[in-house]
Symmetry: C2
Subunit: 193 residues, 2 copies
Amino acid sequence: MSLRERTRAAVRAELAALALEMFAERGFEETTVDEVARAAGMSKRSLFRYFPTKEDMVLGSAEAMGEAVAAELRARPEGEAPWESLRVVLCGWEERISSSAERLARLRLVEESPALHARWVQRREEARREIAAVLRERAGAGAGAGLDAFSADLLTSAAGAALESATREWLRSNGQKSRPELLTEAFTRLNPT
Amino acid sequence: MSLRERTRAAVRAELAALALEMFAERGFEETTVDEVARAAGMSKRSLFRYFPTKEDMVLGSAEAMGEAVAAELRARPEGEAPWESLRVVLCGWEERISSSAERLARLRLVEESPALHARWVQRREEARREIAAVLRERAGAGAGAGLDAFSADLLTSAAGAALESATREWLRSNGQKSRPELLTEAFTRLNPT
DNA sequence: TCCGAATATGTCACCTGGTGACAGATTAGG
DNA sequence: CCTAATCTGTCACCAGGTGACATATTCGGA
């Protein structure tokens, strides 16, 4: 990575942190992009050169997740049941991500702001599509081989529901409960055939 | 209902039909509110007096559904398992709604336009919250009495996933398959404990 | 039938998120 | 140090909404 790319990424991270702070304090809708820009010492136009939309200042680059999960899913053993694959990959992902105070603030913000939540769900939907495609194209024999579109949709949507419920419960516990455990519990209760 | 309210509702329905037609033809994002307004022979401002947002011209008044489902849910027998209650109510609802060509067009539009889909999910999320509250406040004994917040969230989110998957499969079949049957299938496969 | 009050509409100005275009400042890297 | 790539600000603009105010329409009662 070149120096320019690194500085750019650093500035972006700084801007995201600033924006998150301001949004958490004064509310997402109530805070203007112009205000964030001026607090960061730059113009609205320049700020929009770092983030495509206002929502992205909070959500960050979550589009990478879908692709990564899809790749990990492809690496799972052939015979494994798709639901089990999803559980392993998502729980593993969950264990790797830090459940910091910043994450709590961000998720709370997302949960409370409808516009933000809508964007967030949209992101997850894109990821879900990718993951469903992986499940459909699965090779090999056994229960999880080459799912039809309906089954792939149902399983991935259910996994999304599990994630969502685990997140909300985590928020209710003020970040005290273990996210991986919550997710495992949700996956276990939902046991699609 | 007074005459004014009736005419207002009629005009609203006419406007919604016009908007749906225009959006289906030229795309949702590509069609301006001003264009719809002028096609309807009124100003942008007046059009916005019939619909709070552009998206509502397509989605209509879906907020009534959440409340109605919640009410029906409250009327289910005390001992019934919550998942079964959800299945019965939602499938019953599905059987009552006409699966017309217009509905197909609307759902296709919603599925294809990200902004529209986001709004739609948001609506369903509001309904889900209401329904989860009903499940939590359930009286009586048995498996479904007084669910904790996590269980209520998980079950309602899973029901949402079932609805979503059934809808997408219905769209893939060009409206040929039976929505109630698809929904029943989805509910049966997802069998949370 | 006519009048007053409620309601619908149009117009205008304005805000916010977002984008294209262009000019000038900055800086990486040879 | 020089040049080319990049960053930045400014300005104009678009689309979705909203508030305010004036005007027209229409409903319901006298």
